[in-house]
């Protein structure tokens, strides 16, 4: 963790830590930004879609994808390439994709789970709609 991101008063644990029983987070969990941001790319399912509002890390993030006017369909909406390659492929990647018009969520799932990233596969999105996509990666 870069020292500039460490606030005195916080506990900084640099060693990998194994919690061997249930661990309780009363205020939730944050995705730290100390190790770089992943690279997001629009997939063929978005047509020549464009990306915006990319936030988060390899661990968890969200972004908005604007589906192109033509060429979109069921398939890979976007791909996520980790900033830092994992030691092993993730155990699980959960994703969601919701239409910013508020009409309906888009059925979505992660595939091609690899140490370098994953693909977000969806049912056919609506052309020229904006979708907010969120993901969480568990190694």
């Amino acid at each position: 963790m870069p020292l500039g991101q460490y606030t005195p008063g916080q506990a900084l644990v640099e060693a990998p830590t194994v919690f061997d029983t249930f661990t309780t987070f009363n205020r939730g969990v944050k995705a730290g930004t100390g190790f770089g941001a992943p690279t997001i790319a629009a997939g063929a399912g978005a047509g020549a879609g464009t990306l915006s509002s990319i936030r988060g890390t390899d661990f968890a993030g969200n972004f908005v994808i604007n589906v192109a006017a033509a060429g979109s369909g069921a398939g890979t909406l976007a791909t996520v390439t980790f900033a830092n390659q994992l030691a092993v492929a993730p155990s699980s990647v959960v994703v969601s994709a919701s239409d910013n018009t508020g009409t309906a969520a888009l059925a979505a799932g992660a595939q091609t789970l690899a140490t370098t990233g994953f693909a977000i596969v969806t049912a056919a999105p609506v052309a020229v709609h904006f979708y907010t996509v969120s993901y969480t990666v568990i190694q």
Binding site: T24, N26, G32, A107
Partner: protein, 142 residues
């Protein structure tokens, strides 16, 4: 945790910890994988009632995992699969998130149902397609 899974240099915390403010994970979180026994995954009636439905390798743990389901004959809307924890939880989970996507390139609208301390079911509101392989990912928060 079995001793043979403990790697020197790691910190092993066997006590229960409560973090009373936001806790930041700069490198993410790992599933404990099978340290406490792997979950058991079974096909549901939605994956096909007349045979042929198959569960692929389960990678992960009660906390988070992925596996594949191959739809058999007469798949339908409903329970695609059930997950039974390797170790029952102390209470019902707070949240279970699941996704199901077709390896042929689309996804099913999906949710987790029947949440108990022993496991949960994966329910789809769209019928799978015969002989298609579906990738399932889940995350359990107790």
């Amino acid at each position: 945790m079995p001793l043979n899974q403990f790697i020197s240099g790691q910190s092993l915390e066997e006590a229960q910890y409560v973090f009373d403010t936001f806790t930041t994970f700069n490198r993410g979180m790992k599933s404990g994988r099978t340290a406490f026994g792997a979950p058991t995954v079974a096909t549901g009636v939605g994956a096909g009632t007349a045979g042929g439905a198959v569960i692929g390798t389960v990678t992960g743990s009660d906390f988070a995992a992925n596996f594949t389901v191959t739809a058999g004959t007469t798949p339908a809307v409903g329970t695609l699969a059930t997950v039974t924890y390797g170790t029952p939880l102390g209470a019902f989970p707070s949240g279970v998130i699941v996704n199901v996507s077709d390896n042929a390139g689309t996804a099913l609208t999906t949710g987790a149902g029947s949440l108990t301390a022993n496991g949960f079911s994966i329910v789809t509101t769209q019928s799978p397609t015969l002989n298609h392989v579906y990738t399932v990912n889940y995350l359990v928060i107790q």
